[in-house]
């Protein structure tokens, strides 16, 4: 898994790529929660995700909940087919804010 962060406008973009499984999801969780704890609005870019398991999904849910408790924005961008399949299995595809591009969050 690759995990990187960059800022675009008011958002901190956390980009996850490759295989987000139980071996790597603690790193994804750490990055997502760190940005929220620094009071950034967070978008997680999943366009390069080839595989994500329930532990990776749990990291996103934890981010979603922390953002809500801190009244910060949290969304998913460019969700890959592999990630969408798992979000749908978890019935979370209607829970998260999901948009194809970062621009659509920024322009909103």
């Amino acid at each position: 898994m690759e995990c990187s962060t960059r800022q675009e406008g008011k958002f901190m973009i956390v980009t996850l790529a490759g295989e987000v499984d139980l071996h790597y999801s603690p790193e994804a969780r750490k990055q997502i929660l760190a940005q929220l704890n620094n009071n950034y609005h967070v978008l997680v870019d999943l366009s390069g995700v080839e595989y994500i398991d329930s532990s990776g999904i749990a990291s996103l849910v934890e981010g979603f909940q922390l953002a809500r408790s801190k009244q910060l924005e949290f969304g998913l961008v460019g969700v890959s087919e592999a990630a969408r399949q798992v979000l749908e299995l978890a019935r979370l595809d209607k829970v998260f804010q999901i948009k194809p591009t970062i621009a659509e969050f920024i322009d909103h």
Partner: protein, 136 residues
């Protein structure tokens, strides 16, 4: 007549999950499953293995055996551990409306597999999960 398509023994550690997923893809392809079905099976077997690492071995060391057995009309994806026997009545998913981290693995397994069976070892040691795909 049954045929074992693959049998592998590996350490119960998260770094093995990628290798396990590759074995699942290889054996499910050999069994003739379609690509989208293979990816569903990969999700189920990966989650079952995560549960063994986290909840059977509690992230301590141990061995897992992965087998894929083709029988007339079905394919069995099977994981066996040698940890303390787990009470299968305690293996439950969370309610999906209860949005919180975790508790999704068992739901994923049951969602992608046609049938799931849990077996315990005779002397209180060991567990086997059989995840069955029915061939139509």
């Amino acid at each position: 007549m049954s045929q074992t398509l693959i049998k592998k023994k590996f350490k119960a550690h998260t770094f093995q999950l990628k290798q396990l997923r590759d074995w699942v893809r290889e054996s499910a392809g050999k069994a003739g499953l379609a690509d989208d079905r293979i990816e569903q099976v990969v999700i189920g077997v990966n989650e079952a293995c995560m549960n063994i690492i986290e909840h059977a071995y509690h992230k301590t060391s141990g061995d897992i055996i992965f087998e894929v057995i083709q029988e007339p009309g079905k394919i069995i994806f099977q994981l066996t551990d040698f940890a303390e026997a787990v009470d299968s009545s305690c293996i439950k998913s969370r309610e999906l409306d209860d949005i919180r981290p975790g508790g999704l693995g068992v739901h994923f397994i049951h969602e992608v597999m046609d049938k799931v069976e849990y077996l315990s070892g005779k002397d209180g040691k060991g567990n086997t999960i059989k995840m069955i795909i029915t061939l139509t």
